[in-house]
């Protein structure tokens, strides 16, 4: 996989993200909005977002061992990372996605 030695992604990496939601709860909608903003700002044109509604497909929660909603799973670049919450704390979201070092 095309990643740096410390695990942080490269500028050319393709991003594959999976967002788990529960219908259109306020936090799910906020997570979608915040995620799209982060993607457009940091890796426009290189990302794919799959939104999984666990009200419709609750069984899919097992795949990524989801316990709270919304949860974002970074499938690519490796390694898989999980970020729980509506991504309203941009700084924390960027650290979770390894786009920024923890201060």
């Amino acid at each position: 996989m095309n990643t740096r030695k410390n695990g942080s992604p490269n500028d050319s990496d393709k991003w594959e993200l999976r967002l788990y939601t529960a219908g259109q709860t306020p936090k799910s909608l906020a997570a979608i909005k915040n995620l799209k903003r982060v993607c457009e700002e940091h890796f426009a044109g290189r990302y794919e977002i799959e939104i999984i509604d666990l009200l419709k497909n609750p069984r899919l929660a097992k795949d990524d061992q989801i316990v709270a909603i919304p949860t974002l799973v970074r499938k690519l670049p490796d390694p898989v990372r999980k970020i729980i919450g509506d991504l309203s704390d941009t700084e924390r979201a960027l650290v979770g996605l390894q786009l920024r070092q923890q201060s």
Partner: protein, 140 residues
């Protein structure tokens, strides 16, 4: 320490490192969850085996049931912000405009055909011949 003992010790050390790494990841995830809950960033949980949607526990029970009713009813429904952006659209409205509900979020309502105004509705109705009203019979 002979060679065999050194190899054994190295293997044991590598096993412990992997275990530490795995525990670190679990601790990180538990900390993430605790932080998200304490900062009000989640509003639903998966409880127990995930066989049906009843296992998705919303933080506000009665409100969630009402919300599900609105989401799944046959009539199109939207809520709009003061600036005219769609903040919520149910599945029926999304089907009317041919998009997924989440793709309508923050889209200006003005983009979609407007429903007839009362004046237009009256002018449409005036062209339809009035049907004779049936008489109600009252039992004396």
């Amino acid at each position: 320490m002979n060679m065999d003992q050194r190899i054994e010790s190295r293997i044991e050390s590598m096993g412990l490192e992997l275990q530490i790494e795995s525990l670190r990841a679990q601790l990180h995830e538990a900390e993430e969850l605790r932080h998200a809950i304490s900062h009000g960033q989640v509003d639903a949980f998966i409880v127990g085996p995930t066989e049906d949607s009843k296992r998705v526990l919303m933080l506000s029970g009665a409100y969630a049931r009402y919300r599900q009713l609105v989401e799944e009813m046959q009539q199109g429904a939207v809520t709009v912000s003061r600036s005219g952006e769609i903040m919520f659209a149910n599945q029926a409205f999304a089907a009317m405009v041919g998009l997924a509900p989440i793709d309508i979020f923050r889209v200006p309502l003005a983009r979609y055909p407007r429903p007839p105004t009362p004046a237009r509705r009256r002018s449409c109705c005036s062209r339809i011949p009035a049907r004779p009203r049936s008489r109600r019979r009252c039992a004396g």
